[in-house]
Amino acid sequence: MKRSLPLIILVLLAALPLTGLSSYIMHILVLVIMWSVIGMGWNLLGGYCGQVSFGHAALFGMGAYSAGLLYYHLGISAWWGLLVSIPVLTITSLVIGFICLRLRGAYFALATLALGEVLRVTAENLVKFTQGDLGIMIKQRTWVEKTWYFYIILLIAAGSFILIKKVIESKLGYYFIAIREDQDAANSLGINTTLYKTIALCVSGVLTGVAGAFYMNYMGYIDPTTVFPLYDISIVTVMVVMVGGVATYWGPAIGALIMVFLAEVIRSMPNIGTAHQTLFGILLIFIIIFLPNGIVGDFRKIINLFKPRGALK
């Protein structure tokens, strides 16, 4: 049962569009799955390898812009961006890794944060190349219906899930966890920490970049402030994983589900809409203090809360 659970969930998800859901629900589902992919990418680097990044917007934006610029400059379909973003993001991750992976812990986090900001400013200022604040718009989106977008992102998500599972269950995964637990100890045991951290960053970057390229195709419009923002992408990515469960397979998916629905609900409420970051911030503080390993990671803790007191003994 446990082995076939991912397959059952995949089949159930694949059957969802057949039930004739409204286009709004489909839109939310597509966003949830897209955020799960980004979350899975972040989780590999942050959750398993212990390198907390505050700059996943940089990777997401690079993916989105590599799709958008292909369309804008070469006139070919932005779907090629899904493929092109893989080498682009590998190179970007290598460069980011070269600069930022010299740093540890909070410094790495901040270096990535600064990087996200720099890419945003660069995209805003290179007006000739990126259209600056005008953004890039695809004149005609491939489909009006959401169904195909849903299947494509579902395929990407399934692929990412398998990739992450394979990586974590292999030798690499143990190296990552060793680095997270104690970098110096890992180093002294002969693990080339810089190499493995760079691998984690590259895989993480490619997954996030592919999600970004998908976003370009799906939304049909990007500009520097929608794909490179600190709070709306980088921090939300961290939150998706923190809420769902750090270093768990299903954490990013659960977190994405909660965060996207929460964002939609809060935004639709009159008056409270502008305060959505406050509520997110309070949720983040709450999660860190009470459920530091997320909903999946601290699942037993939550269950124990609802059990009658006698059951604890």
Partner: protein
């Protein structure tokens, strides 16, 4: 040619003045970093809060922003103490997979502060139109035949001087008082400090309060020469962070020199490349520091001392 030199010197002067203010932001962050080993990502947002305090004091009671330093710094001290005591300290005890929960927590705090400011004060740009805003001293007024013309803006110089005074006061506090010495001991080795009878828990709370107060002071000095909007914090958090890396993690002397370097470099990029590129320049110097000077300015100072 003369105009080129004039432009360069003028940029240098304004960069130096800006750097003095940056140093104040960096100092608070370096202090918190040194004692608690965490980066305070809500630093810029605390500054934004102080700027709103100064702004409302000016608008409602016509209190000069420079005088509001005396109101904003104690207020920010209390805010910092509260944040440390009720939010950050409890998290230090929580067991979790990720070791950087406190840093993520400060992001959450910053997010709430910035968003609350938007909710209460709208995202409009605000400024305090002080009477001396455009007052300046010119070189030709004092030296008739000066080959080049340079000016020194009055509010900028005043802010810079106040920043210097605050920095000297901090230095006296850290080197001459018992509490200051305990803070430095905690920063050097918290276990050893604990064994020597320093109440490390209280020192953490006090340090966060002082860090917040310093950046609060910087906010009051910035408002007469800058403008204010709720999302301004994250830009100054970046500034503070670059300074801490440039200066050497947790070093206060390094933070001052780092602040001056960053200020000068930033006004150079603004003059010669354009205002929009200043954040990129900030990052370039950050990357250069990481690659060529990983220990920051502090490591240079240390090697000089050892050389003697």
């Amino acid at each position: 040619m003369a105009s080129q030199i004039e432009l360069f010197l003028q940029t240098l002067i304004s960069g130096f003045l800006l750097g003095g203010l940056y140093a104040l932001i960096g100092l608070g962050m370096a202090l918190i970093m040194g004692v608690m080993r965490i980066i305070n990502l809500a630093h810029g947002d605390l500054m934004m809060v102080a700027m709103y305090v100064a702004y409302w004091l000016f608008t409602l009671f016509h209190i000069d922003p420079y005088l509001s330093v005396f109101v904003a710094t104690p207020l920010l001290f209390l805010l910092g103490v509260g944040l440390q005591k009720f939010l950050i300290n409890p998290v230090m005890k929580v067991e979790s997979i990720l070791p950087h929960n406190q840093v993520i927590l400060t992001v959450g705090i910053g997010m709430v502060l910035a968003n609350l400011a938007t909710v209460f004060f709208t995202s409009n740009y605000r400024s305090t139109p002080v009477s001396y805003a455009s007052k300046a001293w010119y070189l030709t007024d004092y030296w008739k035949d000066a080959p080049i013309e340079l000016s020194l803006s009055a509010p900028w110089s005043l802010s810079f001087l106040t920043a210097v005074i605050i920095t000297i006061a901090l230095w006296l506090f850290l080197t001459k008082t018992d509490t200051g010495k305990s803070i430095r001991a905690t920063a050097q080795d918290s276990d050893a400090a604990l064994l020597m009878g320093v109440n490390v828990g209280v020192m953490r709370v006090v340090t966060f309060g002082i860090g917040a107060a310093l950046v609060g002071g910087a906010g009051c000095l910035f408002i007469p020469i800058y403008y204010l909007y709720p999302a301004l914090g994250k830009q100054f958090t970046n500034v503070g962070f670059v300074i801490t890396v440039l200066g050497g993690m947790g070093s206060t002397e390094g933070a001052i020199i780092g602040g001056l370097i960053l200020g000068i470099f930033e006004s150079m990029t603004a003059t010669y490349l354009g205002m929009g590129w200043a954040p990129v320049g900030r990052f370039m110097i950050f990357v250069a520091a990481l690659i060529f000077l990983p220990g920051g300015v502090a490591s240079l100072l240390r090697s000089k001392k050892l050389g003697k």
